[in-house]
């Protein structure tokens, strides 16, 4: 056979079919069948009629939204200040904010837990507060980086033009900077919102119990209930797809630039 560059892609295409597409198909099958292999909608209706699981979904949303809002409130001013004034586009300074990304999260959360233990005594007294603190601690760099990237790329002369045309600082920020940094905000939000709904291990480490969507999969897994777990995974997948309809996904881009800095 004649060598063709196209054929080089075949191993990876097969790999994707086997380990990305096939697992999702199996997930579908398991989500809509019961232990005897018969078709059933019980896993789905069960999820939406059980107050516990619906409550978990709701709690996850509230927790994820709060975490995202806190991250945004900390990340935006930080990124803004790093791209303006004397610190302008200094790659060493942004590095300080991004570096925690590369330290193993479990070790970082251990450190945070020790500090919080010292301050609060028992972390289980304030589960919601500690969840927000823990997740913000873990995900904040992923919010700072994309916002920083869009702000750093922004054309500074636009602000000057706005000011020449009579806008004051506040106006120039609200009408120019903020709208232009929206793509960065959106990709930052997608970097935080989803993990905040699913990354139950952070909460598990902090106070040994969790009530978010990801932990449901964990508990079904521990109970060898593949059908129930598949349905939760499928519902999460649906939520993820919804997010990505709104957002032209940049997660790959953010992780990549984070890695490129290293």
């Amino acid at each position: 056979m004649r060598f063709s560059r196209k054929t080089l892609g075949i191993p990876y295409a097969v790999f994707l079919l086997l380990f990305v597409v096939a697992p999702l198909l199996v997930l579908f099958y398991y989500a809509f069948t019961n232990g005897q292999g018969q078709f059933t909608l019980l896993n789905l209706t069960g999820f939406f009629t059980d107050p516990n699981t619906v409550g978990t979904l709701f709690y996850s949303f509230v927790l994820a939204l709060t975490t995202t809002a806190v991250c945004l409130l900390l990340a935006y001013p930080t990124a803004y200040i790093l791209t303006t004034g004397r610190l302008k586009k200094n790659s060493v300074v942004i590095m300080i904010f991004i570096m925690p990304m590369w330290i193993n999260f479990s070790l970082r959360i251990t450190a945070l837990k020790e500090i919080l233990d010292l301050i609060e005594g028992n972390l289980a007294y304030y589960p919601f507060l500690n969840s927000v603190i823990g997740m913000t601690y873990d995900f904040l760099p992923f919010m700072i980086l994309p916002i920083y990237n869009t702000l750093a790329k922004m054309d500074g002369s636009l602000i000057e033009a706005a000011k020449d045309l009579g806008a004051n600082d506040r106006h120039a920020f609200l009408r120019i900077t903020l709208p232009l940094s929206l793509p960065g905000i959106i990709s930052g939000v997608s970097m935080v919102l989803l993990p905040a709904m699913t990354n139950y291990v952070v909460l598990d480490m902090l106070y040994n119990s969790t009530y978010i969507m990801g932990s449901l999969i964990g508990s079904y897994f521990a109970a060898y209930n593949w059908h129930g777990g598949s349905m939760i995974a499928l519902i999460l997948l649906g939520i993820i797809c919804l997010f990505n309809l709104i957002n032209d996904d940049d997660r790959g881009e953010t992780v990549k630039t984070g890695g490129a800095l290293l």
Partner: protein, 267 residues
Amino acid sequence: MIRKITRAGIPILVILFLYVPILVLALYSFTDSTQIGAIRSFTLKNYVTLFTTPELQEMILGTILLALSSALLATILGTLGAIGAFYSHRRTTAAMDTVNQIPVINADVVTGFSLCILLVVVLGINKDSFLPLLIGHVTLSAPFVYLSVIPKLKQMDSSLYEAALDLGARPFQALRKVVIPQILSGIISGFSLAITLSLDDYFIATYTKPATFDTISTYVVNATKGSQTHIKTALWALSTLIFLIVIIIVAVRNLKFERREIKEERA
């Protein structure tokens, strides 16, 4: 003046928030106290425990081996995949791009769980064979290698490959000597990305790893719930070492980067 301080307030707060826990833990890793708050005497005991306890040694070595092997496989697969997709028909490329995007946007819990169901429950592969774990980590990182290589292919001057063929190179030779060197920076950043993804993973490992094997992440998560204090404090030492290694890597990369910038300015 006041405005300046408030302006710097949030970034400083963020730096303190991000680094105080790590630094405090680093300080305590050199003492013999088992919890933060009480300063006791200086000791290197934790570092000795870290490097002499077989359980900890195995766990660290296993994590590194897994990261290296999965990153190597992911780099080969992802790079070849990117080259293949780049030269394919537009529809094939679009299909590969789309499927490649799935593990990138998916939650790791879902990726890990679905792989566990397919490989362990349906196909009956034994977790102890390490095969599900290895496949899991390659699935996690190969898409990022693919994403790192594709832009480099797009930037490349496509006529060079044709020129090499015209000058008598065989297609494989032309690929190895002309295409690969031009996309090498993308391959390398894909590889280092794959390493960090594997090192930081918890969920895929949890759902696919052998019961008796632990990566740093799964080990630390279990250890925080356990009561073995000498293991707990040895992990503080590990955390400090990793922190130092990351700082060194970042510093070296930055110096190189600055040197390159200076050279470019002079040229």
